[in-house]
Symmetry: C2
Subunit: 515 residues, 2 copies
Amino acid sequence: MPTTILPDWLARAAANFPDRLALVHGPARWTFAELDRRAAHLAGQLASAGLRPGDRVALLAGNGLPYAACVHALTRLRAVLVPLNLRLSAGELAWQARDAGVSLLLSDAAHAARAAEVTASLPGVPHAVLHAAAALSPPRPAGREGRGVRTPLRDEIDLDAAQAVMYTSGTTGRPKGAILTYGMHWWNATASALNLGLLPDDRWLVCLPLYHVGGLTTLIKSVIYGMPVILHDCFDPAAVNAAIRAERVTIISVVAVMLRRMLDALDAEGGDGRYPPWLRCVLLGGGPAPLPLLEDCAHRDVPVVQTYGMTESCSQAVTLAPHDALRKLGSAGRPLAPVQLRILTDDGLPAAPGEPGEISLRGPTITPGYYERPDETATAFRDGWFATGDLGHLDTDGYLYVLDRRADLIISGGENIYPAEIEAALLAHPEVAEAGVRGVSDPAWGQIPIAFVCPRAGATAATVTPTELLDFLRPRLARYKLPRVVHLVGPLPRTAAGKLLRRDLPTLLPPDATI
Amino acid sequence: MPTTILPDWLARAAANFPDRLALVHGPARWTFAELDRRAAHLAGQLASAGLRPGDRVALLAGNGLPYAACVHALTRLRAVLVPLNLRLSAGELAWQARDAGVSLLLSDAAHAARAAEVTASLPGVPHAVLHAAAALSPPRPAGREGRGVRTPLRDEIDLDAAQAVMYTSGTTGRPKGAILTYGMHWWNATASALNLGLLPDDRWLVCLPLYHVGGLTTLIKSVIYGMPVILHDCFDPAAVNAAIRAERVTIISVVAVMLRRMLDALDAEGGDGRYPPWLRCVLLGGGPAPLPLLEDCAHRDVPVVQTYGMTESCSQAVTLAPHDALRKLGSAGRPLAPVQLRILTDDGLPAAPGEPGEISLRGPTITPGYYERPDETATAFRDGWFATGDLGHLDTDGYLYVLDRRADLIISGGENIYPAEIEAALLAHPEVAEAGVRGVSDPAWGQIPIAFVCPRAGATAATVTPTELLDFLRPRLARYKLPRVVHLVGPLPRTAAGKLLRRDLPTLLPPDATI
């Protein structure tokens, strides 16, 4: 079949409902016509600067309207976005920019100094700054002139074309650039609409970084749906709670630790501890949700939709409806409409219900592969199925239970131990805010689990001690799963998307500590 | 790109919400689990009878639950549905079945005698009857045994595969079988959801025949959405009005004459002449809507969404939102999200705004072509664009105005006359229920228009005469567009989809009449 060509999504939204609100960021409000105008202007500047179809453009910017304009401007030029993670060092950023072969680095004003630091080690890659109006300054970055014919702006989108190369290391390993195509975004947007419905008053709050797949996909969904996005710089629970009320937010994407902080902030306000009725969906990603959190949400009628997904699946691939949240506790739910899921045992055979194996996904929301990484692409795919690197099982109703990252699996005396299971048991303790478990070498058992716990605010030595936590775990876990030691620590290391970084847990301990 | 494979839509709906209502037909109500079970059972019977992937199966049946089960059963077998039009003669039906090379003719009990008449002239094509429970009788139609290995049932859908071959002649010419792929259905379903929204309480009433694209696509949308369909045998305005209330129908697809009769029936009930608030969308297809009807709908707050589409575009391709209904009077609106539209002049160049030309469509909801008609497929497509055979123009906002069928264009003294324009002018007269115009040969002018008018019920010679109607038209139309004669007749000939059949208008006159 020939590739599918669609009319440009933003141009269509601007033509169909020019005056509808597209983006809210602080006091700034852009309609779809305004967003379209800004994107077209920036695209024109980039074309004049010599940008060509297929060029990769790195973007180092915080959440804001220029980010959105830039995403759509690159579409007009058929250039490919390389979103840079603001938490990385200049060296790591330069590595990604070099790996993606970018021909331009754009930043917002706040990250201009860091961007200059990055391009200092990238000869021939100019740097330009996007100002608040999403215009380029200078309009023609040095080194970009004279590349021949000015690229015409395009009003069509080729679904097979790459929209972005987004670096991911999962939670382990060397980063690689997952290709996100326009088709993946389209299918993700329509699959999400089929799952959640599409209501005329929908407004989606984005407090995840736009350089993360969860933020970027919502930005793109919004122009496909013609739906306003309320964009926050970063996650501030009180600000999020206020915006849900003031901006009539209906959908929000968060991870469990964020939701816990939102509920705590809600309680601190002294009201009835509930959200307004228009908040119809709290998409909860980034790993299994702790039982006390789900119970608290059920008690307050917070409509939690748990999700499982990753960069390579263009965000959510599997979701659990609110009415299943407690009935199917611990499950990530069932695949979205276009997604096929199977669990393969180590022998490569389909697992029986209840039998653990690697989670594999197939469908039009799944990446075609990693940018210029044929070997890693070949490793990740078998017969068109993407091996997620996550372990899980299906119940007899076909609901997915994610056990853990394959790489984080602890094998102790020949038994498989899933850190997530121990973490879930710890998170059921009322005084535990965060829990992380990893394996360490042991001469007798091969590996043994150790735990890191961040107590909830207000917890004291009277209410939570390592001994108390081990006593709490003992009736809940088989003996071989009991952590050898529980470390009480501060907030746990997480990715920008809120996923726990188990490999970094030991950095929480003093250098001379015995882990 | 490889073809896209999705999980079977009905199987997924049955797994995700087994107890949700799928279909209502009279007193019968099937859940998605029930529909899935019936479809699987029938598919098993068809497999045992020797049906193979790719086989074409003609279906001669009225709207009902067996029809729906059969549609989904054929999907499980990767067989291709050939829906037969109940209005056709046995000879016409046999021609279509032969043209499509069907290997089996299925009918419901009510159409069994007619089906037997059809297969009598189709040697080697067996006939089997679907009973009310959607089971086959006899379970193995004669002549189907011994075709080798039993076809396994499939739980995946290949979007490039043909779901149906649906015969269409537009409103003129020799019928040809338009291929409807699964991808066309998927894209139509998601595009419609993006346009109309997707609400948890949606229920779609189908009173169009299921052998017509408007009925069939809704049946398939319903399993993609997980949405109940209220299925009527045929169009009965009082029954439709009653069902909108009793079954809480939110969406209905009709043509203008049907909507007029619904409103008249509503008035006859003696209530407030309004529909309940949950009726959120009346999709109006089958040609331009008369102004008095649109004004009446606006007055009653009937949310009319005008549409333009055809079999080859898998139903709606262009729609007009209710808030534009009066502002953009006479327009069919703007293309759905995945559809591209252009108007080409006779020179093959893009028309300027306001300039008429042939309407061409491109996108994943458009047919790949006609079954075993390479010449007609080649004629209909230019560079991947489907030439609809309809004339129209775009205004400066990109709204489509459909002028007429190219084949129905009247050229009179070198001037183009669009029958639809004269019909719209006639329909603006309060005593006119239906109007049809066609050209007849004239020695002086080449062609001249003549009109056929069906007066509204209750109209008398005192209120509507040919002279009165010509007087009504005179200030509204240029002199060369005035019909030479106006014939007062009964209901006008229409396709099963409600489209006016202009070529059949002369059959309304006595054999000796001068047209």
